[in-house]
């Protein structure tokens, strides 16, 4: 059908649709090539589904409009979420305020007595030779060990 020159000529050159359809139909009835093409198309048409065969078609508009709406407006947090946010902020502010008031108006903390023993070694010698001393402070405040050892040549004090 597509190879028939007459059919191509009629399709391209005739201006009015009604004429074109009429003449093409007449040509197809007479032309053996076009007849074969038509028969093949008709046969293929039996296998494929036509628009009439597919039944009722879903209206795509509502879902389309919904998708567009979603794209336009970014997701707003829900009222509950927004309320929770406000509640959380208010709670934190109240706790901060309470802490500040407690710090400002509360009694001063008791002074901690200084119980540490201060030991300072000026110099140390063993048999008139300079020695080095190491002071060990134990966890027990009342006990302190002092380790004295002879100073060898090359050691650093």
């Amino acid at each position: 059908m597509n190879r028939c020159r007459t059919a191509k000529f009629l399709q391209r050159l005739l201006l009015f649709r009604s004429w074109r359809v009429l003449l093409l139909r007449r040509h197809w009835q007479q032309c053996p090539d076009c007849g074969k093409g038509l028969a093949a198309a008709e046969e293929a048409g039996k296998a494929t589904f036509s628009a009439a065969e597919i039944g009722p078609v879903k209206d795509f508009w509502p879902d389309f409009a919904l998708s567009l709406e979603r794209e336009k407006s970014p997701r707003k947090p829900s009222i509950w979420f927004r309320q929770r946010w406000w509640l959380g902020t208010a709670g934190l502010a109240a706790a901060g305020l309470a802490l500040a008031v407690a710090l400002l108006t509360g009694p001063p903390p008791p002074a901690i007595p200084d119980l540490t023993v201060k030991i300072r070694i000026q110099s140390m010698s063993i048999y008139d030779k300079p020695a080095q001393a190491l002071i060990f402070q134990t966890p027990d405040v009342e006990r302190t060990f002092i380790w004295v050892e002879q100073f060898n040549k090359g050691d650093k004090l």
């Binding site: 597509n2 093949a40 198309a41 008709e42 046969e43 293929a44 048409g45 039996k46 296998a47 494929t48 589904f49 036509s50 628009a51 065969e53 597919i54 039944g55 078609v57 879903k58 209206d59 795509f60 508009w61 879902d63 389309f64 998708s67 567009l68």
Partner: protein
């Protein structure tokens, strides 16, 4: 109004024009998708996505071209992508869940199936062959137009059509 006038109007911000286009092509789009996917639900999903994608890409539409062919090409790509994804998920299902029986062929919705034999015949063709056959037999598309929709050369479109017809003849003889 012509399709391209509606597109222009839509690009100027009139959403009703696109609604008109959707109303005009819903049934055709559904028929194309149905013939390619052989399943109503998948066809509806593909159409819905195609309308949204077409709307987003309306700015890139060349008004000298036919909107119908442009839209069909877009829809076809989505349908073929859908088939690829489905095939991949089936392969994964077969690989990792051998104990689960997996149906390896498209399952048409029997309640809305116009005729079971049509599904049998069409199943013997590839999706591109089915589409070429549909466009040629139902919408009277020429080879060049089929090529524009399939995004291939005219010769390839003719090959798809030729093979589809050959396979169909064989399937019809066997039936």
């Amino acid at each position: 109004m012509t399709d391209n006038e509606l597109v222009t109007s839509c690009l100027q911000g009139r959403l009703d024009s696109y609604r008109e286009l959707m109303a005009r092509y819903s049934r055709y789009a559904m028929t194309v998708a149905w013939n390619v996917l052989l399943n109503r639900e998948d066809a509806e999903d593909a159409c819905q996505e195609a309308f949204l994608k077409a709307f987003r890409n309306l700015g890139s539409f060349d008004s000298r071209r036919s909107f119908k062919n442009w839209f069909y090409a877009l829809l076809t790509n989505l349908c073929l992508d859908g088939i690829r994804k489905k095939k991949r998920s089936r392969e994964l299902a077969v690989r990792y869940a051998r104990e689960v029986p997996v149906e390896m062929h498209m399952s048409p919705d029997p309640s809305s199936a116009p005729a079971a034999f049509q599904f049998e015949w069409l199943r013997s063709l590839t999706p591109k062959e089915r589409l070429a056959l549909y466009l040629w037999s139902q919408e009277e598309y020429s080879g060049a137009e089929i090529a524009a929709v399939l995004g291939c050369s005219q010769n390839t479109a003719h090959v798809h059509l030729f093979r589809a017809r050959q396979k169909l003849k064989t399937a019809m003889k066997e039936a």
